[in-house]
Point group: C2
Chain length 202, copies 2
């Protein structure tokens, strides 16, 4: 098999898994569904991934790269004061979900949050990978808050680590409600308040 | 079959389903698992519930009654000023999850949020029942905020409906992170900030 075909096949499996699991759930999507969607045979699947779990870990990594490029890097670029970057993040998150809603007919929420709620009690490696991803997101948020504090735009008594965690929690909860109501406007209405959240040092 | 036995059997099926689905997920728990846990035959299951979906709707209703009694009615009783009731709610929610963690070894999060993330794109009746439950929770929260406003303890420009929704979103997100980290202390650290959330009328 030429190298290019191998790479294409693996990518198709990865993309299919991401699309199906994001649209439905982990348990509802089987290896057979992924193979059918990707147009590959089971043997080919197992050539690249030992299990659905292993593939899902790769899906989570791919999703983080995507979110980081499309949402975070754009939102957090340094052309705006730090606290305004958080408002831009809220707006971009809304547009991201609205686009998915137009394409699929559904608000799909956050892939990490979806699988965190579905699998945290059931699948240690997936739960652990989501924890790592959440920690990365928190670090990015606390970095923005720290910059704001250094520039004197955020009170020194604000606990930037706890506040970043609170912002991530709120983000996950807003996406959950928007998914449940299948309405991206919930994000537009609620998420901007994320930029105003503050937890003080105790 | 005497009436008492019938009632007991139905209750055992309901309790088993609630325990298993809360601890794992909707897709991971089959009718056979529920029957085995409840010690009943499949025929008995289908005598009371036409499907796992129908039983799950009953589980959601039972969970709401439980949450309302154990958490909300106690938190929101009128012996405290309204905004302090929200702080008590945060503390009781922490204790509720900590108790579950001690009993099961896991933080199980919110049953409504878990199933909202797992099933909102897949199961219309369950998604709709969760939406109804969330609306009831929001009404209870906005009632507390309205009382605070009437007593002059909350600024008149606060949008009590949007703020109640934001509080519910934050609650769901905090429980999601606590479940993912399997650590009830996340709730104790983050959830009290719920009482400080404000969204202004636009």
């Amino acid at each position: 098999m030429p190298m290019q075909a191998t790479t294409d096949t693996q990518q198709r499996i990865l993309d299919s898994a991401r699309e199906l699991i994001f649209a439905r759930s982990y348990a509802d999507v089987g290896v057979a569904d992924i193979c059918e969607h990707a147009g590959v045979k089971k043997g080919s699947f197992y050539h690249f991934y030992p299990s659905k779990q292993a593939l899902t870990l790769a899906v989570l990594d791919a999703q983080f790269i995507d979110i980081k490029e499309k949402l975070i890097d754009e939102a957090f670029s340094e052309d705006l004061p730090p606290l305004e970057r958080l408002e831009r993040f809220a707006e971009l998150a809304y547009q991201f979900q609205k686009r998915i809603n137009l394409e699929t007919g559904h608000v799909l929420g956050c892939l990490f949050g979806n699988l965190a709620n579905e699998l945290s009690t059931q699948d240690e490696p997936i739960s652990e990978r989501i924890q790592q991803t959440f920690r990365k997101l928190q670090m990015l948020l606390s970095g923005v808050l720290q910059t704001a504090q250094q520039r004197g735009e955020l009170a020194v008594e604000v606990d930037v680590v706890a506040t970043a965690q609170a912002m991530l929690a709120y983000f996950e909860g807003v996406l959950l409600l928007a998914k449940n109501q299948n309405d991206p406007e919930v994000i537009r209405q609620l998420l901007p308040a994320m930029a105003q959240m503050r937890i003080k040092r105790s």
